[in-house]
Symmetry: C2
Subunit: 211 residues, 2 copies
DNA sequence: CATTTATTAAACCAAAGGTACAATAACTGA
DNA sequence: TCAGTTATTGTACCTTTGGTTTAATAAATG
Protein backbone atom coordinates (compact mmCIF):
# COMPACT_ATOMS: atom_id res chain seq x y z
CA UNK A 1 0.00 0.00 0.00
CA UNK A 2 2.96 2.30 0.50
CA UNK A 3 3.97 1.90 -3.12
CA UNK A 4 0.69 3.39 -4.23
CA UNK A 5 1.11 6.32 -1.91
CA UNK A 6 4.62 6.91 -3.16
CA UNK A 7 3.27 6.91 -6.69
CA UNK A 8 0.65 9.54 -5.98
CA UNK A 9 3.32 11.61 -4.30
CA UNK A 10 5.40 11.33 -7.44
CA UNK A 11 2.52 12.47 -9.61
CA UNK A 12 1.72 15.36 -7.31
CA UNK A 13 5.35 16.36 -7.43
CA UNK A 14 5.46 16.29 -11.21
CA UNK A 15 2.38 18.43 -11.46
CA UNK A 16 3.65 20.93 -8.92
CA UNK A 17 7.01 21.17 -10.66
CA UNK A 18 5.31 21.92 -13.96
CA UNK A 19 3.03 24.47 -12.38
CA UNK A 20 5.95 26.13 -10.66
CA UNK A 21 7.78 26.57 -13.95
CA UNK A 22 4.73 28.13 -15.56
CA UNK A 23 3.91 30.35 -12.62
CA UNK A 24 7.45 31.69 -12.61
CA UNK A 25 7.10 32.43 -16.30
CA UNK A 26 3.59 33.80 -16.61
CA UNK A 27 2.17 34.16 -13.12
CA UNK A 28 -0.68 32.23 -11.59
CA UNK A 29 -3.43 34.22 -13.26
CA UNK A 30 -2.28 33.73 -16.80
CA UNK A 31 -1.48 30.07 -16.29
CA UNK A 32 -4.44 27.83 -17.08
CA UNK A 33 -5.10 24.31 -15.93
CA UNK A 34 -4.69 23.25 -19.56
CA UNK A 35 -1.25 24.82 -19.57
CA UNK A 36 -0.24 22.92 -16.46
CA UNK A 37 -1.59 19.68 -17.86
CA UNK A 38 0.37 20.13 -21.08
CA UNK A 39 3.58 21.06 -19.29
CA UNK A 40 3.28 18.17 -16.85
CA UNK A 41 2.29 15.77 -19.62
CA UNK A 42 -0.95 14.70 -18.02
CA UNK A 43 -4.48 15.30 -19.05
CA UNK A 44 -6.44 18.00 -17.33
CA UNK A 45 -8.71 15.43 -15.73
CA UNK A 46 -5.69 13.82 -14.14
CA UNK A 47 -4.86 17.08 -12.45
CA UNK A 48 -8.17 16.91 -10.69
CA UNK A 49 -7.37 13.40 -9.47
CA UNK A 50 -4.38 14.70 -7.58
CA UNK A 51 -5.62 18.15 -6.67
CA UNK A 52 -9.03 19.45 -5.82
CA UNK A 53 -8.65 22.77 -7.56
CA UNK A 54 -6.25 25.21 -9.10
CA UNK A 55 -6.14 27.03 -5.82
CA UNK A 56 -4.83 23.96 -4.05
CA UNK A 57 -1.99 23.80 -6.54
CA UNK A 58 -1.20 27.46 -6.04
CA UNK A 59 -1.21 27.14 -2.28
CA UNK A 60 1.04 24.11 -2.37
CA UNK A 61 3.57 26.01 -4.44
CA UNK A 62 3.26 29.09 -2.30
CA UNK A 63 3.96 27.05 0.80
CA UNK A 64 6.95 25.14 -0.54
CA UNK A 65 8.34 28.33 -2.05
CA UNK A 66 8.08 30.21 1.19
CA UNK A 67 9.66 27.39 3.13
CA UNK A 68 12.53 27.51 0.66
CA UNK A 69 12.78 31.28 0.99
CA UNK A 70 12.96 30.96 4.74
CA UNK A 71 15.76 28.45 4.39
CA UNK A 72 17.69 30.64 1.96
CA UNK A 73 17.36 33.63 4.25
CA UNK A 74 18.46 31.61 7.22
CA UNK A 75 21.52 30.41 5.35
CA UNK A 76 22.34 33.94 4.21
CA UNK A 77 22.00 35.29 7.72
CA UNK A 78 24.26 32.59 9.12
CA UNK A 79 26.74 32.82 6.27
CA UNK A 80 28.82 35.66 7.69
CA UNK A 81 29.61 36.71 11.20
CA UNK A 82 30.08 40.25 9.94
CA UNK A 83 26.65 41.84 9.90
CA UNK A 84 27.19 43.91 6.76
CA UNK A 85 28.38 40.95 4.75
CA UNK A 86 25.40 38.97 5.96
CA UNK A 87 23.16 41.85 4.92
CA UNK A 88 24.52 41.72 1.39
CA UNK A 89 23.99 37.97 1.32
CA UNK A 90 20.40 38.38 2.45
CA UNK A 91 19.62 40.93 -0.25
CA UNK A 92 21.28 38.81 -2.88
CA UNK A 93 19.33 35.78 -1.75
CA UNK A 94 16.08 37.70 -2.04
CA UNK A 95 16.83 38.99 -5.52
CA UNK A 96 17.82 35.54 -6.71
CA UNK A 97 14.84 33.92 -5.11
CA UNK A 98 12.49 36.24 -6.92
CA UNK A 99 13.76 35.00 -10.25
CA UNK A 100 12.88 31.43 -9.46
CA UNK A 101 9.76 31.84 -7.43
CA UNK A 102 8.17 35.25 -7.89
CA UNK A 103 4.76 34.05 -6.83
CA UNK A 104 5.96 32.86 -3.44
CA UNK A 105 7.97 36.04 -2.99
CA UNK A 106 4.95 38.18 -3.74
CA UNK A 107 2.90 36.21 -1.26
CA UNK A 108 5.59 36.57 1.37
CA UNK A 109 5.86 40.32 0.91
CA UNK A 110 2.14 40.90 0.80
CA UNK A 111 2.17 42.13 -2.77
CA UNK A 112 -0.52 39.61 -3.51
CA UNK A 113 -3.79 39.13 -1.66
CA UNK A 114 -3.39 35.93 0.32
CA UNK A 115 -7.05 35.19 0.91
CA UNK A 116 -8.09 34.65 -2.65
CA UNK A 117 -11.84 34.71 -2.96
CA UNK A 118 -14.42 35.90 -0.55
CA UNK A 119 -14.44 32.65 1.35
CA UNK A 120 -12.62 32.03 4.58
CA UNK A 121 -9.08 30.72 5.02
CA UNK A 122 -8.86 27.46 3.16
CA UNK A 123 -6.70 24.43 3.74
CA UNK A 124 -3.01 25.20 3.75
CA UNK A 125 -3.51 28.91 4.06
CA UNK A 126 -2.74 28.97 7.75
CA UNK A 127 0.57 27.21 7.06
CA UNK A 128 1.44 29.89 4.57
CA UNK A 129 0.67 32.67 6.99
CA UNK A 130 2.70 30.94 9.68
CA UNK A 131 5.79 30.63 7.48
CA UNK A 132 5.36 34.25 6.44
CA UNK A 133 5.44 35.23 10.09
CA UNK A 134 8.46 33.05 10.73
CA UNK A 135 10.35 34.75 7.92
CA UNK A 136 9.61 38.16 9.31
CA UNK A 137 10.65 37.01 12.76
CA UNK A 138 13.92 35.67 11.39
CA UNK A 139 14.62 39.01 9.77
CA UNK A 140 13.63 40.90 12.88
CA UNK A 141 16.11 38.86 14.89
CA UNK A 142 18.74 39.65 12.30
CA UNK A 143 18.04 43.33 12.72
CA UNK A 144 18.36 43.02 16.48
CA UNK A 145 21.69 41.31 15.99
CA UNK A 146 22.75 44.24 13.82
CA UNK A 147 21.82 46.63 16.58
CA UNK A 148 23.74 44.56 19.13
CA UNK A 149 26.77 44.58 16.86
CA UNK A 150 26.51 48.32 16.59
CA UNK A 151 25.93 48.10 12.87
CA UNK A 152 22.45 49.58 12.81
CA UNK A 153 20.58 52.17 14.78
CA UNK A 154 19.17 50.66 17.92
CA UNK A 155 16.16 52.95 18.19
CA UNK A 156 14.41 51.18 15.35
CA UNK A 157 11.47 49.00 16.37
CA UNK A 158 12.51 45.64 14.88
CA UNK A 159 9.22 44.18 13.71
CA UNK A 160 7.94 47.38 12.16
CA UNK A 161 11.27 48.19 10.57
CA UNK A 162 11.57 44.74 9.06
CA UNK A 163 8.12 44.97 7.54
CA UNK A 164 8.93 48.37 6.10
CA UNK A 165 12.27 47.21 4.78
CA UNK A 166 10.72 44.05 3.37
CA UNK A 167 8.02 45.94 1.51
CA UNK A 168 10.39 48.63 0.27
CA UNK A 169 12.68 46.03 -1.22
CA UNK A 170 9.77 44.23 -2.83
CA UNK A 171 8.71 47.48 -4.46
CA UNK A 172 12.20 47.87 -5.88
CA UNK A 173 12.22 44.30 -7.11
CA UNK A 174 8.94 44.80 -8.92
CA UNK A 175 9.94 48.04 -10.53
CA UNK A 176 13.25 46.54 -11.55
CA UNK A 177 11.40 43.84 -13.41
CA UNK A 178 8.70 46.03 -14.93
CA UNK A 179 11.16 48.63 -16.10
CA UNK A 180 14.16 46.49 -16.81
CA UNK A 181 14.63 47.85 -20.32
CA UNK A 182 14.09 51.44 -19.19
CA UNK A 183 16.69 51.01 -16.45
CA UNK A 184 19.12 49.46 -18.87
CA UNK A 185 18.60 52.19 -21.43
CA UNK A 186 18.51 55.25 -19.18
CA UNK A 187 20.75 54.28 -16.31
CA UNK A 188 22.94 51.73 -18.03
CA UNK A 189 22.39 49.26 -15.24
CA UNK A 190 21.37 45.64 -15.23
CA UNK A 191 18.54 44.57 -13.01
CA UNK A 192 20.98 43.04 -10.53
CA UNK A 193 23.13 46.14 -10.35
CA UNK A 194 20.11 48.35 -9.92
CA UNK A 195 18.82 46.21 -7.07
CA UNK A 196 22.23 46.12 -5.48
CA UNK A 197 22.19 49.91 -5.40
CA UNK A 198 18.71 49.74 -3.96
CA UNK A 199 19.91 47.46 -1.21
CA UNK A 200 22.69 49.91 -0.46
CA UNK A 201 20.25 52.76 -0.27
CA UNK A 202 18.05 50.86 2.13
CA UNK A 203 21.07 49.91 4.20
CA UNK A 204 21.79 53.59 4.68
CA UNK A 205 18.37 53.97 6.24
CA UNK A 206 19.29 51.41 8.89
CA UNK A 207 22.85 52.29 9.74
CA UNK A 208 24.18 54.79 12.18
CA UNK A 209 26.69 56.47 9.93
CA UNK A 210 26.68 56.92 6.21
CA UNK A 211 29.19 55.27 3.97
CA UNK B 1 -22.26 70.99 -34.53
CA UNK B 2 -20.42 72.13 -31.41
CA UNK B 3 -23.39 71.23 -29.26
CA UNK B 4 -23.15 67.66 -30.37
CA UNK B 5 -19.47 67.54 -29.55
CA UNK B 6 -20.07 69.01 -26.15
CA UNK B 7 -22.68 66.36 -25.53
CA UNK B 8 -20.35 63.50 -26.36
CA UNK B 9 -17.75 65.07 -24.11
CA UNK B 10 -20.30 65.14 -21.34
CA UNK B 11 -21.12 61.48 -21.82
CA UNK B 12 -17.49 60.48 -21.96
CA UNK B 13 -16.92 62.39 -18.75
CA UNK B 14 -19.81 60.66 -16.99
CA UNK B 15 -18.55 57.26 -18.00
CA UNK B 16 -15.02 58.05 -16.93
CA UNK B 17 -16.17 59.38 -13.58
CA UNK B 18 -18.12 56.21 -12.92
CA UNK B 19 -15.23 54.02 -13.98
CA UNK B 20 -12.86 55.97 -11.79
CA UNK B 21 -15.03 55.39 -8.73
CA UNK B 22 -15.19 51.67 -9.42
CA UNK B 23 -11.50 51.33 -10.23
CA UNK B 24 -10.59 53.02 -6.95
CA UNK B 25 -12.87 50.60 -5.15
CA UNK B 26 -12.17 47.30 -6.86
CA UNK B 27 -9.33 47.79 -9.30
CA UNK B 28 -9.49 47.65 -13.06
CA UNK B 29 -9.43 43.86 -13.31
CA UNK B 30 -12.38 43.22 -11.08
CA UNK B 31 -14.42 46.02 -12.58
CA UNK B 32 -16.48 44.80 -15.50
CA UNK B 33 -18.01 46.78 -18.31
CA UNK B 34 -21.38 45.85 -16.84
CA UNK B 35 -20.34 47.44 -13.57
CA UNK B 36 -19.32 50.63 -15.29
CA UNK B 37 -22.52 50.71 -17.31
CA UNK B 38 -24.64 50.31 -14.19
CA UNK B 39 -22.70 52.91 -12.23
CA UNK B 40 -22.80 55.41 -15.07
CA UNK B 41 -26.47 54.64 -15.79
CA UNK B 42 -25.95 53.73 -19.41
CA UNK B 43 -26.31 50.44 -21.16
CA UNK B 44 -23.19 48.48 -21.81
CA UNK B 45 -23.51 48.99 -25.55
CA UNK B 46 -23.52 52.74 -25.04
CA UNK B 47 -20.07 52.52 -23.51
CA UNK B 48 -18.86 51.22 -26.82
CA UNK B 49 -20.32 54.23 -28.58
CA UNK B 50 -18.09 56.54 -26.60
CA UNK B 51 -15.07 54.31 -26.13
CA UNK B 52 -13.52 51.72 -28.36
CA UNK B 53 -12.67 49.30 -25.59
CA UNK B 54 -12.24 48.86 -21.88
CA UNK B 55 -8.57 49.54 -22.32
CA UNK B 56 -9.28 52.98 -23.74
CA UNK B 57 -11.28 53.79 -20.61
CA UNK B 58 -8.48 52.56 -18.39
CA UNK B 59 -5.88 54.56 -20.27
CA UNK B 60 -7.94 57.71 -20.12
CA UNK B 61 -8.25 57.40 -16.35
CA UNK B 62 -4.60 56.54 -15.99
CA UNK B 63 -3.63 59.64 -17.89
CA UNK B 64 -5.87 62.07 -16.04
CA UNK B 65 -4.86 60.51 -12.75
CA UNK B 66 -1.20 60.85 -13.47
CA UNK B 67 -1.59 64.43 -14.57
CA UNK B 68 -3.31 65.09 -11.27
CA UNK B 69 -0.54 63.30 -9.37
CA UNK B 70 2.04 65.41 -11.10
CA UNK B 71 0.15 68.53 -10.09
CA UNK B 72 -0.16 67.40 -6.47
CA UNK B 73 3.53 66.60 -6.29
CA UNK B 74 4.43 69.92 -7.82
CA UNK B 75 2.29 71.73 -5.27
CA UNK B 76 3.80 69.74 -2.42
CA UNK B 77 7.32 70.45 -3.60
CA UNK B 78 6.61 74.16 -3.88
CA UNK B 79 4.70 74.30 -0.63
CA UNK B 80 7.68 74.77 1.66
CA UNK B 81 11.02 76.41 1.18
CA UNK B 82 12.44 74.10 3.83
CA UNK B 83 13.41 70.90 2.07
CA UNK B 84 12.45 68.57 4.92
CA UNK B 85 9.02 70.07 5.27
CA UNK B 86 8.54 69.78 1.54
CA UNK B 87 9.63 66.16 1.76
CA UNK B 88 6.94 65.43 4.30
CA UNK B 89 4.40 67.16 2.13
CA UNK B 90 5.42 65.07 -0.87
CA UNK B 91 5.08 61.80 1.02
CA UNK B 92 1.76 62.84 2.42
CA UNK B 93 0.55 63.80 -1.03
CA UNK B 94 1.53 60.40 -2.37
CA UNK B 95 -0.20 58.48 0.39
CA UNK B 96 -3.34 60.53 -0.02
CA UNK B 97 -3.30 60.23 -3.75
CA UNK B 98 -3.14 56.48 -3.53
CA UNK B 99 -6.44 56.42 -1.69
CA UNK B 100 -8.23 58.23 -4.45
CA UNK B 101 -6.50 56.88 -7.50
CA UNK B 102 -4.60 53.67 -6.78
CA UNK B 103 -4.66 52.58 -10.39
CA UNK B 104 -2.90 55.68 -11.63
CA UNK B 105 -0.42 55.47 -8.79
CA UNK B 106 0.40 51.89 -9.64
CA UNK B 107 0.92 52.82 -13.25
CA UNK B 108 3.15 55.71 -12.28
CA UNK B 109 5.30 53.56 -10.03
CA UNK B 110 5.56 50.69 -12.46
CA UNK B 111 3.72 48.28 -10.22
CA UNK B 112 1.43 47.53 -13.10
CA UNK B 113 2.45 46.54 -16.61
CA UNK B 114 1.82 49.55 -18.78
CA UNK B 115 1.74 47.85 -22.14
CA UNK B 116 -1.19 45.62 -21.51
CA UNK B 117 -1.40 42.93 -24.12
CA UNK B 118 1.18 41.73 -26.53
CA UNK B 119 0.42 44.46 -29.04
CA UNK B 120 2.42 47.61 -29.45
CA UNK B 121 1.87 50.92 -27.70
CA UNK B 122 -1.71 51.94 -28.27
CA UNK B 123 -3.29 55.33 -28.46
CA UNK B 124 -2.75 57.39 -25.36
CA UNK B 125 -0.03 55.16 -24.01
CA UNK B 126 2.76 57.45 -25.10
CA UNK B 127 1.10 60.31 -23.21
CA UNK B 128 1.05 58.19 -20.10
CA UNK B 129 4.70 57.32 -20.39
CA UNK B 130 5.56 60.96 -20.97
CA UNK B 131 3.76 62.13 -17.83
CA UNK B 132 5.38 59.32 -15.91
CA UNK B 133 8.76 60.58 -17.01
CA UNK B 134 7.84 64.13 -16.13
CA UNK B 135 6.90 63.07 -12.62
CA UNK B 136 10.20 61.33 -12.12
CA UNK B 137 12.02 64.36 -13.48
CA UNK B 138 10.16 66.62 -11.10
CA UNK B 139 11.20 64.42 -8.19
CA UNK B 140 14.76 64.20 -9.42
CA UNK B 141 14.94 67.99 -9.49
CA UNK B 142 13.59 68.03 -5.97
CA UNK B 143 16.35 65.69 -4.89
CA UNK B 144 18.95 67.89 -6.52
CA UNK B 145 17.51 70.83 -4.65
CA UNK B 146 17.87 68.84 -1.44
CA UNK B 147 21.50 68.21 -2.22
CA UNK B 148 22.06 71.90 -2.98
CA UNK B 149 20.42 72.81 0.34
CA UNK B 150 22.72 70.39 2.10
CA UNK B 151 19.78 68.32 3.24
CA UNK B 152 20.66 65.14 1.40
CA UNK B 153 23.83 63.39 0.38
CA UNK B 154 25.12 64.83 -2.85
CA UNK B 155 26.79 61.65 -4.11
CA UNK B 156 23.44 60.11 -4.96
CA UNK B 157 22.69 59.88 -8.70
CA UNK B 158 19.38 61.73 -8.87
CA UNK B 159 17.45 59.81 -11.50
CA UNK B 160 18.40 56.40 -10.19
CA UNK B 161 17.82 57.37 -6.60
CA UNK B 162 14.41 58.80 -7.36
CA UNK B 163 13.35 55.64 -9.12
CA UNK B 164 14.55 53.54 -6.21
CA UNK B 165 12.86 55.79 -3.69
CA UNK B 166 9.70 55.86 -5.72
CA UNK B 167 9.49 52.10 -5.98
CA UNK B 168 10.40 51.53 -2.35
CA UNK B 169 7.63 53.82 -1.22
CA UNK B 170 5.17 52.12 -3.53
CA UNK B 171 6.07 48.78 -1.99
CA UNK B 172 5.34 50.17 1.44
CA UNK B 173 2.07 51.62 0.28
CA UNK B 174 0.97 48.28 -1.10
CA UNK B 175 1.95 46.31 1.96
CA UNK B 176 0.27 48.88 4.15
CA UNK B 177 -2.96 48.26 2.29
CA UNK B 178 -2.69 44.49 2.03
CA UNK B 179 -1.80 44.06 5.67
CA UNK B 180 -3.69 46.94 7.20
CA UNK B 181 -5.37 44.77 9.80
CA UNK B 182 -2.14 42.95 10.63
CA UNK B 183 -0.34 46.26 11.12
CA UNK B 184 -3.12 47.56 13.27
CA UNK B 185 -3.21 44.41 15.38
CA UNK B 186 0.50 43.73 15.77
CA UNK B 187 2.04 47.17 15.66
CA UNK B 188 -0.88 49.22 16.84
CA UNK B 189 -0.48 51.63 13.96
CA UNK B 190 -2.91 53.01 11.45
CA UNK B 191 -2.01 52.80 7.80
CA UNK B 192 -1.16 56.50 7.75
CA UNK B 193 1.09 56.26 10.79
CA UNK B 194 2.82 53.22 9.42
CA UNK B 195 3.51 54.95 6.12
CA UNK B 196 4.70 58.05 7.89
CA UNK B 197 7.27 55.92 9.66
CA UNK B 198 8.17 54.38 6.33
CA UNK B 199 8.72 57.82 4.85
CA UNK B 200 10.98 58.67 7.78
CA UNK B 201 12.98 55.50 7.27
CA UNK B 202 13.46 56.30 3.60
CA UNK B 203 14.41 59.83 4.45
CA UNK B 204 17.25 58.46 6.55
CA UNK B 205 18.61 56.74 3.47
CA UNK B 206 18.87 60.09 1.72
CA UNK B 207 20.17 62.38 4.42
CA UNK B 208 23.67 63.02 5.49
CA UNK B 209 23.18 62.64 9.22
CA UNK B 210 20.69 60.58 11.12
CA UNK B 211 18.03 62.11 13.23
C1' DC C 1 -43.36 62.05 -43.05
C1' DA C 2 -38.72 60.48 -44.17
C1' DT C 3 -34.20 60.14 -42.91
C1' DT C 4 -30.67 60.25 -39.92
C1' DT C 5 -28.89 59.64 -35.25
C1' DA C 6 -28.69 57.78 -30.57
C1' DT C 7 -29.66 54.15 -27.47
C1' DT C 8 -29.92 49.63 -25.84
C1' DA C 9 -31.50 44.70 -25.29
C1' DA C 10 -30.06 40.66 -26.69
C1' DA C 11 -26.94 37.78 -28.95
C1' DC C 12 -22.30 36.35 -29.73
C1' DC C 13 -17.82 34.70 -28.73
C1' DA C 14 -13.71 33.32 -26.33
C1' DA C 15 -11.40 31.92 -22.28
C1' DA C 16 -11.06 29.29 -18.35
C1' DG C 17 -12.26 26.36 -14.38
C1' DG C 18 -14.38 22.36 -13.52
C1' DT C 19 -17.03 17.73 -14.51
C1' DA C 20 -18.95 13.36 -16.73
C1' DC C 21 -18.13 9.45 -18.95
C1' DA C 22 -16.40 5.98 -21.68
C1' DA C 23 -12.22 3.63 -23.01
C1' DT C 24 -8.13 1.69 -21.50
C1' DA C 25 -4.79 -0.30 -18.44
C1' DA C 26 -3.75 -2.80 -14.33
C1' DC C 27 -4.54 -5.92 -11.03
C1' DT C 28 -6.98 -9.70 -8.48
C1' DG C 29 -8.40 -14.30 -7.47
C1' DA C 30 -9.87 -18.65 -9.33
C1' DT D 1 -5.15 -17.99 -18.55
C1' DC D 2 -9.22 -15.53 -17.98
C1' DA D 3 -13.30 -13.01 -16.09
C1' DG D 4 -14.31 -9.42 -13.21
C1' DT D 5 -13.14 -5.52 -10.56
C1' DT D 6 -10.66 -1.24 -9.86
C1' DA D 7 -7.90 2.64 -11.05
C1' DT D 8 -6.40 5.94 -14.53
C1' DT D 9 -6.94 9.11 -18.22
C1' DG D 10 -8.34 11.22 -22.74
C1' DT D 11 -12.27 13.50 -24.78
C1' DA D 12 -16.02 16.11 -24.86
C1' DC D 13 -18.87 18.94 -22.53
C1' DC D 14 -20.91 22.32 -19.13
C1' DT D 15 -20.96 26.76 -16.87
C1' DT D 16 -19.62 31.22 -15.83
C1' DT D 17 -17.61 35.48 -16.83
C1' DG D 18 -16.73 39.31 -19.45
C1' DG D 19 -15.63 41.93 -23.64
C1' DT D 20 -17.58 43.07 -28.04
C1' DT D 21 -21.09 43.32 -31.94
C1' DT D 22 -25.47 43.58 -34.05
C1' DA D 23 -29.96 44.68 -35.08
C1' DA D 24 -34.11 46.71 -33.64
C1' DT D 25 -36.28 50.56 -31.36
C1' DA D 26 -36.85 55.30 -29.93
C1' DA D 27 -35.80 60.10 -30.65
C1' DA D 28 -34.72 64.01 -33.11
C1' DT D 29 -34.31 66.70 -37.17
C1' DG D 30 -35.71 69.11 -41.34
Amino acid sequence: MSKKQALTEFHRGSILAAAERLFAEKGTEKTTMDDIAREAEYSKATLYVYFQSKEEIINAILLSGMVLLKKKLHEAIESHSDWFQAYDAVCQAIVRFYDENPTAYDAATGSIPLTQDGDALQKGMSDILRVSDEIEQELADFLVRGAADGAVRSQLPPVETVLLFWSALSGMVHTAEQRESYIQRTLGLTREEYLQHGARLLLASLTKANM
